[in-house]
Amino acid sequence: MKERTKIFIVIAALAALLVGTPYTGSFVILLITQALVFAILAMSLDILLGYTGLPSLGQAAYLGMGAYLTAILATEFEFGLGASFWVLIVLGMAIGALTAALFGLFAIRATGVYFLMITLALGQCVWGLAYRWNSVTGGDNGINLPGRPEFGIDLANDVTFFYVVFGFFVATLAALYLLVRSPFGRSLVGIRESELRMRILGYNTWLHKYIAFIIAGGFGGLAGVLWAFLNGLVSPEDVILTTSVDALLMVVLGGPGTLVGSAIGAGVVVFLREYLSTLVPWWQYVLGGVYVLTILYLPGGLMGIPERIRQRRALSAGAGREKVVSASQ
């Protein structure tokens, strides 16, 4: 498929989502909004996992930093509840990026499993802070937000809030798409494929990875701000390892290195987890089954499906031709 057709399909899907969502039930709107927030987190992780080849298990840390910053500013200083919401977005991204800049110093040295372990440990540090630093984070109880921002438009309305989150989602998708298409993004892919070769070519691969790490952290922080306002509650449970693992699985499920795939993965996971769980008690088996089947049969994730179908078709066409040939002989 041509790049232009792909972009067209994505835009059409987004438009359908934008138009269709307000007509669904109020719970479904909430779930779609939630999926979009998680999609931002998953796409930020895709920059690391899919494009740079760094499997990070600590992405929840940046979400947590953004969310806790939002909650603390909102409750202590009533900041971010009016037009200052936009400043808060910037601050949220900044704190995510700063945290990543700090963590990156430790993590980027390592690769593969060691990178996984270090990011896991660093992510747990943030959880530890959230859980134990009672005076600031409210510990186990977490922090209840006073409400969603209001600045001309009232975000307490779920449909309005959906539009805003949708806007941030599209902006993130566009920004990250441009990023991975840029020379910088290309060199990240180069590092993923062969870091040694890139280094021999004269690239400062450490710096490239470090910057990618910071960018991913920044968008993680953005997801955190939106997450806090979506739930109205920030709790250490948001920052636990499970959130990081979920983000990783969303990327793998959708197809690493595709951006859109991460968003689809987020959608599938959120709907299975939040919607199916209200219908049947054995929803976790379904989720597990989806993961296992994807890993076994779709190493490229859900985004790999069209490619698989094409291959299968080409294969059977080829086989058919062979048959004709052998028959004619």
Partner: protein
């Protein structure tokens, strides 16, 4: 892409079906046919067993009534909160938005109570706290949550009379050892407040983290000159602490917050717990005909002695029924329901219950001693929480004037301050 579209259409369809369903079935909020009650409790994870006790208690009453509350058909929708505050919030949102429940009940830990109360305000739906005991929800923050009614207890409520009781026993110096989180602070705070106002002294406070499995580092630090130990344990901690205390050869009298010796853990405990005293608004060993019938029936049905988790939810269902009796099975609307609920007076399994003006129960507090004996006609010797003293009609402010009580901060790690700690 294909899958996402599919998921979207199914969900859209589902939304449509639900919208139609609600449109035809419920109509205005006053229809008498059905009362939908959302029930959020942990069904998976470490608190799953407690969640089942909660749900069993509630369902036992509903089934006794044949699912019919004064003409209204009761539809209880259970959701798994997994014991995690954010999950509880999402499930409550689902119950209100999708199932259009008239009220939701449940939550377990204090943190879930704090998480769910704002949801009730935001969605203008009644939330009944049958278990979460966080003090402030019906004290300093009560105004923020006009749709919240508590049918359980505040953490400090049983421990106010308990501090008095300890003082009356002649204990002068007490060491507290309690789980390091909000519930622990509030339980210890309530005890310390009345104990010290009566002339006793808390000389040391030890805070092991929630979920501690080895008390080895904490037990040796307990001061020798203490007359007694006050403890608050939760979940598996309750089992471990008395064992290790006995193994360390400490023979001081032990008092505990209600959950430390609740019937939920009691059958798994060994003889080392015998003689320990605790305070709560319920004991399965309560020797009243009502409770005896309740215990026998519950045990026959679910194979275990009811804990306070079961009783509290059973009584909650009964209170809802009482309100509906008055309305003739019609849903009176959220605000009216809260008002009517607050006026209910009931002779329940735990004893007489009514709600105070901040919508928290006023009920008997029982001082209970763990004893091994036969009870309720069962022919085996078992551990029971024998009631040794009853404080009738205890409210959340004990004997303090309400206004004065609310002036002090909520009980915390640093309040009341440990004046006599050396």
């Amino acid at each position: 892409m294909l899958r996402k579209c599919k998921a979207r259409t199914t969900s859209a369809l589902a939304g449509l079906v639900i919208a139609l369903g609600v449109g035809t079935a419920a109509g205005p909020a006053g229809a008498a046919q059905e009362i939908r009650i959302g029930f959020v409790a942990p069904m998976t994870g470490i608190f799953a067993q407690i969640g089942k006790d909660m749900h069993n208690g509630f369902m036992m009453y509903v089934e006794e009534q044949g699912g019919n509350f004064a003409g209204a058909k009761v539809n209880v929708i259970l959701e798994d909160g997994q014991g995690k505050p954010p999950v509880n919030v999402r499930k409550a949102e689902k119950l209100v938005r999708q199932d259009k429940v008239h009220m939701f009940i449940g939550g377990l830990l204090a943190s879930t109570g704090y998480a769910l109360a704002p949801v009730s305000t935001r969605l203008k739906t009644v939330y009944i706290l049958s278990i979460p005991a966080a003090d402030d929800l019906t004290q300093r923050e009560a105004e923020k949550y006009p749709y919240v009614v508590r049918t359980g207890w505040t953490s400090s409520q049983p421990n106010h009379p308990f501090g008095q009781w300890a003082c009356d026993q002649g204990y002068k110096k007490v060491v507290t050892i309690a789980a390091d989180y909000a519930f622990g602070y509030e339980v210890v705070g309530g005890f310390q407040k009345t104990f010290e106002d009566c002339g006793g002294q808390v000389i040391q406070k030890i805070w092991p983290p929630l979920g501690t499995k080895d008390f080895g580092p904490f037990i040796p630090t307990i001061k020798d000159n203490a007359d007694a130990i006050f403890t608050l344990m939760v979940g598996p901690m309750s089992l471990q602490f008395p064992k290790q205390l006995a193994a360390a050869g400490i023979k001081k009298p032990v008092m505990g917050g209600g959950t430390s010796y609740d019937e939920f853990v009691l059958p798994s405990m060994g003889d080392e717990a015998i003689g320990h005293v605790s305070a709560l608004q319920y004991s399965a060993a309560l020797d009243t005909p009502k409770n005896r019938a309740f215990v026998r029936k519950y045990r026959e049905k679910y194979g275990k002695v009811p804990s306070y988790y079961s009783e509290s939810n059973y009584t909650t269902a009964q209170m809802i029924h009482e309100v509906l009796k008055q309305t003739g099975g019609k849903w009176p609307g959220a605000e009216k329901f809260v008002q009517m609920m607050a006026k209910i007076q009931l002779d329940s399994v735990r004893g007489p219950v009514r709600l105070d003006e901040m919508r928290n129960p006023v009920h008997n507090i029982y001082i209970r001693k763990v004893e091994k004996k036969k009870m309720h006609g069962y022919d085996k010797e078992e551990l029971w929480n024998t009631v040794i003293k009853t404080y009738p009609n205890v409210g959340q402010f004990w004997k303090y004037p309400k206004a004065k009580f609310l002036e002090q901060p909520v009980y915390s790690r640093t309040f009341p301050p440990c004046k006599y700690c050396e």
